[in-house]
Amino acid sequence: MSKVMIYGEIKGGRIKKTAFELASEGRRLADKLGGDLGAVVMGSAGEQFAADLGRYGVDTVYVVEAPELETYNSEYFAQALAKVIIEKKPEIVLISHSMQGKDLAPRTAAKLGVATIADCISFELDGSSLVAKRPMYAGKCYAQWVALGSPQMASARPNVLEVVETPKSGTVEKIAFSADASRATYTTKDLNLDTSGKVDLTEAEIIVSGGRGMGGPDYSLLEEMASVFGPTATVGASRAAVDAGWRTHSDQVGQTGKTVTPNLYVACGISGSIQHLAGMGSSKVIVAVNKDPEAPIFTKADYGIVGDLFKVIPEFNKELKALLAE
């Protein structure tokens, strides 16, 4: 019996890093509660990741296999996850707030008739109650929530929880499951449509972002910086730049765009409205370049450069290339 259970997301035949983030956090909580940590993985690809999950503190890996679980489907995955939860009775269930988790968590919670607290950035225990912290009102305040009822479900913002190795057995336990096909669901027509080949904002390790200060649709300076940083870097934009038609909507970082948590966020010519900060405030390191020394972005940045970005960035790109060429 696992006191804490995490959902390990598999994508493209690989387990996502968020699974290890959840496992590490789940281990910490399970130790405090004095119980085991379980992980649920779906599909025939799941079993091979048991050892990986074990390395991050998972005692038991529940593998659910069924033809319906080979490709993500909100209804069948929620059925399977709910089944494992009902069978194993964990006190706490953690899911990643990824595109899949955003879809899966509410559906599973509604099946179980319990609440789920979305997009949390940290967890604590108060006795056996899970206290989950999350930003609200575009990050203008933080709220601590406790889920009543059992299990206590929450989803965690990706790339925020720390990954810690705590070797455990990662023993595989297969869970028998046959999907209830009488429930309506969708048909997947195409899994990976429209591949732009660009690194996605939500998965990029480095984001170079431009705002109103770019003055127009020419982002070549930022594209150049991103390409020098390497294949894990990409270019983002503020809402002002998207509204002006300089960048496409899929590039938008902020409350009405994407929430990103890269290791490095470079904000160029972005004043730092509350709605932008909501989308990038959890980045590990934030650098701001702006010619207005009063721009609010400087109060949210780790490092600031006051100056004309069209002069600052070329100089930086030059130095960056020189350094990486060494």
Binding site: C141, Q144, K189, T202, T256, V285
Partner: protein
């Protein structure tokens, strides 16, 4: 076809926020400016576009909230919705998404909608829970975060494309009835028209008290609110441009940001 759009009223995002004395909610006065959740505007616009393309289509707008919420339903009528439903909740404070979802599901069940649209999330709470929960409660298929929607009337289905990681999209087909949550960027919401505003002012909203209808479900409790602490060092780099570039690169190196 019959379409329902879920709309939420929220405080104008630019409004400064003040945590109240209990530390468990924010001060909200009657005069605090409010507006429709932007994601719901996209959902409503999408419904109106579908209505333009599909004969015999009606669009209902539904919102759950206190008295003040009626203005957001009227706003939806002003944009062009045919009928407005206000699920009147008792309190001004936080309402759990699972409770909101139960109320909407209860109201929607008897009305036999073919398609329910909702914003992907609300701008204030940003949890994105109500839409998929309503779908589950009504046993409907659900697609979240959609940036393309096309109703295929002949097949009684809806084709959608949803955003996923990796800059990619998934294409899904859902048999109607279904629930679809809408991501921003799908369309440009229209402004309310004068004739619709005049109609909205005359039209009666359907008000349903939800106090009795709220099922007893386990929910969540807000323990404490706090302002964000200023955690960033906020160091302004000095020197020539070259100096600044080199300082930054030194930091990046120390923090293993360069590969």
């Amino acid at each position: 076809m019959r379409i329902l759009v879920c709309v939420k009223q929220l405080l104008e995002p630019e409004t400064p926020l003040c945590i109240d004395e209990s530390g468990r909610w924010v001060n909200i006065s009657q005069t605090t400016p409010r507006q429709m959740n932007r994601f719901d505007e996209y959902a409503l616009e999408q419904a109106l576009v579908i209505r333009e393309q599909t004969p015999d289509t009606t669009v209902d707008a539904i919102s759950a909230g206190p008295e003040s919420c009626s203005t957001v339903v009227r706003r939806a009528l002003g944009m062009g919705a045919d009928h407005g439903i206000h699920l009147l909740t008792g309190d001004q404070g936080y309402v759990s998404p699972i409770r909101t979802a139960s109320c909407i599901a209860l109201a929607a069940r008897s009305r036999k909608y073919d398609l329910i649209l909702a914003g992907v999330m609300s701008e204030d709470m940003a949890q994105g829970l109500v839409g998929p929960m309503v779908a589950e409660m009504l046993s409907l298929p659900c697609a979240t975060s959609c940036i393309f929607v096309r109703v295929e009337l002949a097949k009684a289905s809806v084709y959608v494309e949803r955003e996923i990681e990796g800059g990619r999209r998934q294409a899904l087909e859902l048999d109607l009835p279904a629930l679809v949550s809408i991501q921003s960027g799908i369309n440009k919401p229209r402004y309310p028209s004068l004739s619709n505003i005049m109609r909205a002012n005359r039209q009666k909203l359907e008000v349903i008290s939800t106090v009795a209808a709220e099922p007893s479900r386990s929910c969540e409790d807000l323990l404490h609110l706090s302002y964000p602490r200023k955690t960033r060092a906020g160091v302004l780099l000095e020197g020539t441009r070259k100096d600044k570039a080199r300082q930054l690169l030194r930091v990046f190196r120390e923090r293993s940001l360069l590969h």
